[in-house]
Amino acid sequence: MKHILMATGALALSLAPLHAQNFDDPEEFAKQQEQLAAEPMGPADQPWLQHIGDAMVETADLGVEAPATVCFSNAGVNNPWRVVGYTNMTEEVANHESIGEFIHVDAEGSDDKQIADIDDLLAGGDCDVMIVSPNTTAALTPAVERACEAMPVIVFDRGVNTDCPVTFVHPVGGYGFGIQGAEFIADNVDEGGNVLMLRILPGVDVLETRYSAGRRILDEAGLNIVGAEFTDGDNAKTKSIVEDYLMRGEIDAVWMDAGATAVAAIEAFEDSGYEIPVFVGEDQQDFLRKWQDEGLTAIAPTYPTFQWRTAVIAAAHVIEGEAVPGPEWVLPQPAITQDNLDEYVNPAMPPLHYAMCGCEDMANYPGAWGGN
């Protein structure tokens, strides 16, 4: 039994690298590095309206009339990032009179279910415009192609392997996220310093690119990567892993591909009686607060949740017949640093709230996001 499974696996191993998506693409890396430095177009105080690059798509001939029904096929609201994003989205919908009805279907993290959801919406949803946040890129491509035949489609967060949507809204990307954190470590830790890399899980495109970019920069800076461990996004596991590393040797910096467990990792240093080293987290309030309280040397790259607003704005533009940035609407991807930390820390917000939400000026802030 085991042999057969192993043989099957070995077969997969021998074939898989030929087809696996390339998560370490120097061209994409260079492009995103450039985009991080680029000056985005649009109002600087409203990053969710900004775009990098000047290509636009005309929408006047798409034939949608206001008020229109916008249908949203959501991959899921199964983590706090998506919860904050979805709140942004529903609040943004209220800002647009051209959106008559907003229908939301939630695929609960399953590709199969999301395909069925899109088919259901096409069969009877009376949708005029569809927004899709794909659960995975490859699997949702056919469903999005079918939707494109029926109506204008806007895709955000993860993309699809087709250019049929009107536009694909996304921030700079995973390489950019990895670059920001790793460059901060390279600037603040001496050559030869020990870096622990903590990752959520393998195989997820947006996380793999963060890691490959981070690793590339840390290697180039001559830092010593003591380990790259998967935490499953689990606080208890993260804390245990860091404790184990601390029993074995010194750590000068911690790089993370997502900040959800950053505070647990910091606590492992505290509870074991060590100085907190240079840290890369994310824009969650609990991390930002810890950073401020303890005076850490840290950075919080973001994968901004304000892109959920942008997707709705793009849909409204389509209904109103205005041009939208496309075929890709590349949003800026700001990092939170020591300089602007105070702007983002807000003790009134829940610990798992993502600060880079661009939602502070919205009507129901902070209540709708769970703040006091």
Partner: protein, 326 residues
């Protein structure tokens, strides 16, 4: 084949030793070999601290398994307890004193509902607690709107996070280890020194005979589920304390708890189970994870090893039972 004769010889010479302790001892020797730092208090105390939630869960799960059922709802219960505590304490350190009893109450209540559904709606516990698992998970998210709203104050986190320092011999003891000793001690006493324990065994072994012998089958079964729920709430308080707020703390703990109980020789579908052995099972399972971690093996290998050990342990137990004719 030589292996089999060897184990048989060992068992016939030491019939009273549960093999889980042999396994645990072997694993600990291997860990010490890999990482001599384990004999330091930091090493073994961290290990015990990490094992505490699972060990407590397993001690509760043993009651349900011995009575003939399963409790799949404890993982979601942990999530609910952590999320709920963060909602209720709402950053107020003084709230801990009433929030913890409320959480223990939620644990007992969950068990009560599980037990009532099994006993009176006659839904098999696998399905009843599966439904409870899905429902509690949804409730935790509904309560918090998807993400917990408050921080867990340090007073709440005391049980899972703090250490008692300057203890002679061991230098320090994590509070969670004390909780572990007290709770497992209590559960063991209830199971092996009281009438309740005998009744739990009796209804798991043969519910009809137990009823004829005057055991209140329903009351005993409900009590078993309530103890399991209580253990889930305690584990949730420890995990929330150890690691802070998050939304998927409990995921997977139900199967780990069942695995730990089974490693300790508890018989699925009832009639046999021991709290100390389940503790051994939980420690062994944690030791396996720790060892594989030290060996630097990736997650997939850990899964395979866990799967093989699980099947092997039960197959071995069945083989022994056939040999001894019990």
């Amino acid at each position: 084949m030589t292996e089999r004769t060897e184990t048989r010889g060992l068992f016939s010479r030491l019939p009273q030793i549960n093999p889980v302790w042999v396994l645990l001892a072997a694993l600990i020797v291997a860990i010490i070999f890999m990482n001599p730092g384990f004999v330091e208090p930091t090493g073994y105390m961290n290990f015990l601290k990490r094992a505490a939630p699972l060990a407590i869960l397993a001690a509760g799960q043993v009651y349900v398994i011995t009575s003939g059922g399963f409790d799949l709802s404890v993982g979601s219960l942990i999530t609910l307890v952590v999320v709920g505590s963060s909602m209720l304490t709402n950053n107020d350190p003084t709230a801990t004193y009433w929030v913890i009893p409320v959480m223990l109450g939620i644990g007992l209540g969950t068990g009560l509902v599980n037990g009532l559904v099994v006993c009176f709606l006659r839904v098999p516990s696998l399905i009843a607690t599966l439904g409870m698992m899905i429902t509690l998970n949804g409730l935790a998210f509904m309560w918090s709107g998807g993400a917990p709203r408050g921080y867990l104050p340090d007073t709440f986190r005391f049980f899972g996070r703090e250490l008692i320092r300057d203890v002679p011999l061991v230098r320090f003891i994590p509070v969670s280890v004390i909780v572990l000793i007290v709770v497992v001690g209590l559960f063991a006493w209830l199971m092996h020194r009281t009438n309740l324990g005998r009744q739990v065994h009796a209804i798991g072994d043969n519910p009809v005979a137990a009823r004829l012998a005057g055991v209140s089958v329903n009351r005993t079964r409900i009590t078993a589920f309530m103890l399991s729920g209580l253990s889930g709430a305690i584990a949730g308080i420890l995990l929330g304390g150890f690691a802070g707020v998050s939304t998927d703390v409990g995921t997977g703990y139900e199967l780990q708890a069942i695995t730990a109980a089974v490693l300790g020789g508890a018989q699925l579908l009832g009639g046999r189970g021991s709290v100390p052995a389940a503790l051994g099972g939980a420690l062994a399972l944690t030791a396996i994870f720790t060892l594989l971690n030290f060996l630097g093996l990736p997650q997939p290998v850990r899964q395979v090893v866990q799967g093989l050990i699980l099947i092997a342990a039960v197959a071995l137990a069945m083989h022994r039972r056939k040999q001894t004719g019990t």
